[in-house]
């Protein structure tokens, strides 16, 4: 039962990365081009995001609910000892939410530079700290017994490794967003522009990813001994190769555009799956000792109730979500 709940948790985090992540990425891409982004580009981001914006971000809430109901001690520990990066994530979420609302509903202003600026900066800030949090949970510096502020509340996340996981998250999300947007763009120049940015972002991913491995002792060994992680790595490399081939040699027909987007999503899925398989079953790694999801699991009746609620919820939500995407997204492809 713990494992099935972990599958749900993994799934909601994956969907958050695939949909919410693209959203964050769109903001990060704007950050790169502060002030230079054309009207066309803005309109594209806006048109692509608006109808599905709210729905994309609820996957995070689903993940949070799973953690606090099924693995309460994990939730309590993260909220206590990683409260600073968590607050930063929240600050980012609130700021970009506001900026988005203002940009979209300030009916008389058009695309104000200020709103776009806030949106871009907070997207980057938020993604970075999401990455930091993910890194800090299993880096092994958490120390619930520490008595001083520095060791308890700063050391677990304020280090090179976690900063690199933050950078990795930023490049991953901007890679995804650039691919999605290149697929959605109708003007050729814009398509190529986003493809170029996807390429830059993928270089960033590779570099930051390598550095993440280099800065945690034992991570490479663990990776080599996890067959699932190795296969994910292999598949991700294959998909990247395909993307590179498609961008270099193929005409951007409808189907090519569809497949490049799918391949981009595939890369992200492989990265996430590889990450889960390397850290599994550890939920939190402390300075001394490890808390696994099995240790942290709530009593069986609780897990069962949650599982039923999730299945019922998904049965309602998935058709509705498919309908939403059918109305607003898929017709672009047809």
């Amino acid at each position: 039962m713990v494992f099935s709940l972990l599958l749900f948790l993994a799934l909601s985090l994956l969907l958050y990365a695939l949909f919410g992540g693209a959203d964050f990425g769109a903001g990060i891409l704007e950050m790169w081009r502060m002030g230079k982004m054309g009207k066309q580009e803005h309109a594209l981001v806006q048109r692509a995001m608006a109808p599905v914006w709210e729905a994309n971000h609820i996957w995070l809430i689903v993940a949070v609910v799973i953690v606090f109901m099924a693995f309460p001690s994990v939730y309590a520990t993260v909220c206590t000892f990683l409260f600073i990066p968590l607050m930063c994530v929240l600050l980012g979420i609130v700021a970009r939410g506001c900026a988005f609302v203002l940009r979209y509903y300030d009916a008389t202003a058009g695309h104000s530079k200020l709103y776009s600026g806030i949106f871009a900066v907070s997207s980057t800030f938020c993604t970075f700290f999401l990455g930091v949090l993910a890194g800090a949970m299993t880096f092994g510096r958490l120390d619930p017994l520490a008595t001083d502020f520095e060791a308890a509340y700063l050391a677990p996340w304020l280090n090179g490794h976690c900063a690199l996981t933050g950078v990795f998250a930023c490049s991953l999300f901007s890679f995804l967003a650039a691919l999605y947007l290149s697929g959605e763009a109708e003007v050729k120049a814009l398509q190529e522009d986003f493809q170029k940015r996807a390429a830059y972002a993928s270089i960033g991913m590779v570099l930051a990813g390598a550095a993440v491995f280099a800065t945690q002792r034992g991570l490479i060994a663990k990776f080599i001994h996890t067959p699932l992680a190795l296969s994910c790595f292999f598949l991700a490399t294959l998909l990247m190769g395909q993307l590179w081939y498609a961008f270099s040699f193929l005409e951007a027909t409808q189907s090519v555009r569809f497949w490049t987007r799918a391949a981009g999503a595939g890369v992200v899925a492989m990265v996430m799956l590889g990450w889960y398989s390397v850290v599994f079953p550890a939920a939190l790694v402390f300075r001394e000792g490890v808390l696994t999801y099995y240790d942290a699991a709530a009593p069986a009746p609780v897990l069962k109730a949650l599982l039923i609620a999730l299945v019922v919820g998904l049965l309602v939500i998935i058709p509705a979500l498919l309908y939403l995407f059918r109305i607003f997204k898929w017709e672009v492809l047809e």
Binding site: T80, V94, G97, C98, L102, A107, T108, A298, G313, F328
Partner: protein
């Protein structure tokens, strides 16, 4: 103490802020759907314009509400890890279901807002209905978790460790249903009167007939809710008197156990001396309200250990505020509906009164939550876990309190600004189409 107080203030601030969005998300879709139905029936384009305008309002508040709700889901852990560690598994179920309902609401809002030209009118109307129903469902689920804090159920408390957990039983706790209905009706009351008041103001200022139509729809919803509310409020009070006699005694600043207990109107309770100054007592009425019998005995605070008393002054004043404003809205609502029924219009005096009433429903609602929450103190889980035991050990709670305070202030400014821009653009469109009456 100051550490705990800071955490409580931050929680109060966050919940007090979020509740406004939650109630708008619950009630506003129904107002919007009423206007939409009028449009589908009469084909009067003003109703279509009104529907669109309101739907944008719903979306704006939903977007900011989603953001503040996400922050809240983390804040429970950031402030009360001691509570979440025990309560998470027990009351997680309604939160999970709330997540699902919220998700559905988000999808339906997407369809409603951007689907005007893309889906058939009937599906479109239905998507609006789904927005409202899932908003209501969310409220029910979240309030179930709050009800559980007042009436813990679904587990055995084995010396500080919950065992034999039954999440479904916890969700269906005793306090759940009445609290949920009380709050949902309050949402319609608050939103109905706030919207009616705002459109009344715009109508008085600009004279567009669209605003008058809006006043009518909103006022009828608000007045209906105000009529039902006293009944539910009375049932709730009776339930509280049974379940949490200390809370009931604090609401009434009732210190001594008495038969034929009098209902206190106004008055300033003094906890130290256990007496009330400047109050008006209506003899026997409190006994009647609590137990349905003028001679019944109502337990006073003296029956309970001094350490277990809720803050009497705050609870009592908040209760008075809630009931007072609720009654006022009932009066205004009744007069308004009567005028609409007999004269088919509203007098200028009443329109002006409505403008004055804009904040009253929300004040009553916030006061009601103060009664629920402060009245439960010093417990976070009634008679099981003290709030002081649940608070986070981390330092700098004051810092995050000011941080969050600044954030919410900023959000309010943003909202007011955006809504104002929406009204401006509505008036521009109305001026173009000649919508003046």
């Amino acid at each position: 103490m100051s550490h705990l107080l800071a955490a409580r203030l931050q929680m109060a601030l966050s919940l007090g802020f979020h509740i406004v969005f939650a109630s708008i998300g619950m009630a506003m879709p129904f107002l919007m759907l009423t206007a939409y139905r009028r449009f589908l029936k009469t084909k009067n384009p003003e109703y279509r314009e009104l529907t669109r305008t309101w739907s944008k309002g719903v979306a704006i508040f939903f977007a900011v509400g989603a953001v503040s709700g996400t922050a809240l889901s983390f804040e429970l852990g950031l402030l009360w890890p001691g509570f979440m560690k025990y309560a998470g598994p027990i009351v997680g179920l309604p939160f999970a279901l709330e997540g699902a309902a919220f998700f559905l609401e988000a999808i339906a809002i997407g369809i409603f807002l951007y689907g005007w030209e893309r889906v058939p009118p009937r599906v479109h109307w239905l998507s609006g209905l789904v927005v409202g129903l899932s908003g209501l469902a969310s409220a029910f689920f979240v309030i179930s978790a709050n009800g559980w804090m007042n009436a813990p159920a679904g587990f055995d408390w084995n010396g500080g460790n919950p065992i034999n957990v039954d999440p479904l039983k916890a969700m269906m706790n005793e306090a759940f249903l009445l609290q949920a209905v009380h709050m949902s009706v309050a949402a319609f009351q608050a939103v109905g009167f706030a919207v009616a008041g705002m459109h009344a103001w715009l109508y008085l200022k600009r004279g567009y007939s669209l605003h008058f139509k809006a006043v009518k729809i909103a006022l009828v919803w608000g007045a209906l809710a105000s009529l039902i509310q006293p009944v539910i409020g009375d049932l709730s009070a009776k339930a509280v008197a049974q379940r949490q006699p200390e809370k009931f005694a604090a609401m009434e600043a009732h210190f001594e156990t008495q038969s034929h207990a009098g209902l206190l109107i106004g008055g300033i309770p003094d906890e130290e001396k256990a007496e009330v100054r400047f109050g008006l007592h209506l003899p026997g009425l409190l006994s009647f309200l609590a137990h349905g019998d003028f001679s019944s005995v109502v337990k006073g605070l003296e029956e309970f250990p001094r350490d277990d008393w809720p803050p009497v002054l705050v609870t009592h004043l908040a209760f008075q505020l809630m009931v007072g404003f609720g009654m006022l809205l009932l009066l205004v609502g009744t007069v308004g509906v009567f005028q609409l029924w007999r004269k088919k219009t509203l007098s200028v005096g009443l329109l002006k009164t409505l403008v004055l009433c804009i904040p009253f429903g929300f004040i009553a609602m916030e006061a009601g939550w103060v009664v629920t929450e402060v009245g439960r103190q010093p417990w976070v889980i009634y008679r099981l876990l003290r709030t002081a035991e649940a608070v986070t050990p981390r330092p700098a709670v004051w810092v995050t309190l000011f941080g969050y305070g600044a954030l919410y202030l900023f959000l309010c400014v943003v909202l007011v600004f955006v809504m104002q821009r929406q009204v401006e653009s509505l008036h521009k469109r109305l001026a173009k189409t000649g919508g003046a009456s």
